[in-house]
């Protein structure tokens, strides 16, 4: 990538926008740390997959989307939900299993939904939501809307049959879908070297006639830049786009993972490219923020998270009498 060229484009960022983006990344980072803590206290159960280290991807991509755009994610979706503006209280309550949760407590960490934000979930079947994204984009095209459907998935999903079927269908039907692959080098415990014949995933796009690009997922500005280009291409050409964000998760795949598959040294290496301090440095150097403001942002994030914890603690258990609700719809017809 031509580093210099990207540098001068960054000046356009103003202080307010810069601080908002930093605040989002910090909120995500600390929300995930708190989730880990609550998990060890058995407040959160089931599977818990944390986004620590990949914040720049969710924040960078989602800031380029409008309210009408649809978002579908995997089970590692706390960061995306927070970046999309889903209420942290509702997310924490959901992980506590309380009915005040964003999915009424029925989905848990892997299934956060918010129809008002066009946030169509955490989807826990790897690549299961790829065809669904193509369908939503197909519907948008038929309804002559000009929104984008953005589908996040890991590099693991790119090995599923549904990835190939979806890429082909998207290109064949020329639908406005943005496929974003968060390549964090490990599909649970298997390195990309052992799962992909071609590890530069962006090379797969052209095989289906889909414009593709790769970007440093640890650099928020680069991700923002690449996403802006992707969305512009989709809207102008009415064709799908495939963006690969090379990133890394600092924590284990889930809470109960001894990380036998990677070296501690590799984790330390990637921690040096932590997107949050990198972006903080940029803002400080560009006089777009002060150290005092950063501490304020951190305190505000902690307060917001503490409020979310209390909200979840005070949440209520759904009465077992409602067990069979939401199996079928309560409205007669649509």
């Amino acid at each position: 990538m031509k580093k210099a060229k990207i540098m001068e484009k960054k000046q356009k960022l103003d202080a307010k926008e810069g601080q908002r983006l930093l605040q989002q990344m910090i909120l995500i980072r600390r929300f995930e740390e708190k989730s880990a803590e609550e998990y060890t206290k058995s407040k959160i159960r089931g599977f818990l997959h944390l986004y620590t280290g990949e914040e720049a991807v969710a924040v960078g991509v989602i800031q380029a989307l409008t309210e009408e755009d649809n978002i579908l994610c995997t089970y590692r979706e706390h960061g995306h939900a927070l970046a999309r503006g889903v209420d942290p209280n509702a997310i924490m309550a959901e992980m506590y299993g309380k009915q005040e949760g964003c999915s009424k407590g029925r989905g848990g960490s892997m299934h956060l939904f918010d129809a008002t934000k066009n946030f169509f979930g955490g989807n826990a079947i790897v690549s299961g939501h790829l065809p669904v994204s193509v369908g939503m984009a197909l519907a948008a095209k038929k309804q002559k809307k000009n929104n984008v459907t953005c589908c996040f998935f890991g590099e693991g999903a790119a090995a599923e049959g549904e990835f190939h079927e979806s890429m082909n269908l998207a290109a064949l039907w020329e639908v406005p879908v943005l496929f974003v692959s968060e390549n964090n080098l490990y599909a649970m415990g298997t390195s990309i070297k052992l799962t992909h014949s071609v590890q530069q995933l962006e090379k797969k796009g052209p095989a289906y006639g889909i414009e593709s690009a790769a970007v440093d997922g640890m650099d928020l500005l680069a991700v923002m830049e690449a996403t802006a280009k992707a969305v512009k291409t989709i809207k102008e050409k009415g064709k799908p786009y495939f963006l690969v964000c090379n990133t890394y998760r600092f924590r284990a795949h889930s809470m109960f993972d001894a990380e036998l598959y990677r070296e501690k040294s590799e984790v330390e290496e990637w921690k040096k490219k932590d997107p949050i301090p990198k972006f903080q440095e940029f803002l400080l150097k560009g006089k777009l923020i002060t150290a005092k403001k950063i501490t304020e942002i951190e305190k505000a994030a902690d307060a917001q998270i503490q409020e979310a914890i209390e909200f979840a603690e005070n949440g209520t258990w759904e009465d077992t009498e409602n067990l069979t609700r939401f199996v079928y719809s309560e409205t007669e017809s649509i």
């Binding site: 918010d114 669904v132 369908g135 939503m136 309804q143 979806s166 409205t331 007669e332 017809s333």
Partner: protein, 328 residues
């Protein structure tokens, strides 16, 4: 009595598709060979010319892909009819149907409806051998969140789809391909039919023949023959395999005190297993003898005609079993 018209099962289905597409812009048909080829079994012949490629969409051989896309389009406000050419290929789309279509409403705490209709050709009887002769009504009828319909009569072929398109929840419709050429009479103004209840197609007092799909016309034929031998058989068409309407067949058993369940699916863990359990639970003291059943023999369906015929209940089997039950 309004005047009747003669119509094939195929024509009835096509009329239903045309009706719903004319009435609602959001409806479109997507499936393998539904457009230019005119439908694998010619059900959608002519629809491409009438509605255009945008609403009659040929799809590549990616069952998971296009079924998932149908579900996505439904999520985003469209009303797709996904045609899975035959139920035999539906296994490839099972993850989309079970983990997305039937589950999203629940997992999202009631926020997301998936108003998709998935039509599947199925049934045995033209020597298609094991991989093309599956009866998986029991698979789908097991999944909460799905509405599962079995089109056993021409009225239902003409009317079920119209009601299914109104449903906010996913509907799976089993259509029996070997009946496509069969001609029957239905009212000329036949339209939508309700999709919540089973139906007594023939009144009787000596025994209840409970069936669905391909078993319906066989049981009606058997009941006529039994009538001549002084046995008055009642025929109950289940029609809706999920959520199953038990009141109708329980009422029938309470009247006749005897029941024979007929289906083509393999016997173990089948629809008959469920029907008989409910009779045991709720009509035990009305039984004057054990409930019997005639089901598919548990073998991958063989190619040769005589073996294929032997692997599923025929009219003669129904007659013989009923007589054995009533005159031991």
């Amino acid at each position: 009595m309004s005047d009747m018209i003669k119509i094939t099962y195929r024509e009835a289905i096509k009329q239903a598709i045309r009706d719903v597409m004319q009435k609602d812009e959001r409806v479109f048909l997507m499936g393998e060979d539904v457009g230019n080829y005119g439908g694998a079994f010619a059900v959608s012949k002519g629809l491409l010319k009438e509605f255009g490629a945008d609403r009659i969409m040929d799809v590549p051989l990616s069952e998971s892909g296009f079924t998932g896309a149908g579900i996505g389009a439904a999520l985003a406000g469209m009303k797709p009819i996904v045609e899975v050419m035959t139920v035999n290929f539906s296994l490839l789309a099972m993850d989309q149907i079970v983990n997305n279509a039937s589950t999203l409403l629940h997992m999202s705490g009631g926020q997301l409806n998936v108003p998709v209709v998935i039509r599947m050709g199925c049934g045995i009887g033209r020597q298609l051998a094991a991989q093309h002769s599956h009866s998986w009504e029991p698979f789908f009828a097991h999944v909460p969140g799905l509405i599962v319909l079995s089109v056993g009569t021409h009225e239902d072929a003409r009317g079920m789809l119209l009601s299914a398109m109104q449903s906010p929840d996913p509907v799976v419709i089993f259509e029996y391909t070997f009946m496509l050429n069969l001609e029957k009479e239905i009212p000329a103004d036949a339209g939508a039919v309700e999709i919540k209840k089973a139906k007594v197609l023939r009144e009787g007092k000596d025994i209840s023949l409970i069936t669905y799909g391909a078993g319906v016309y066989k049981c009606l034929e058997a009941a006529e023959a039994l009538g001549e031998e002084g046995i008055d058989a009642e025929v109950v068409d289940l029609r809706v395999l999920r959520p199953m309407d038990e009141e109708t067949f329980l009422a029938s058993v309470k009247k006749t005190h005897r029941a024979l369940v007929v289906e083509e699916a393999w016997k173990s863990v089948s629809i008959s297993s469920e029907v008989i359990s409910r009779i045991m639970e709720k009509a035990f003291f009305d039984l004057d003898g054990p409930v019997e059943r005639l089901c598919g023999v548990e073998v991958p369906i063989p190619y040769p005609k005589h073996l294929e015929d032997a692997s599923i209940p025929q009219v003669s089997d129904i007659l013989e079993k009923v007589k054995k039950m009533l005159k031991p």
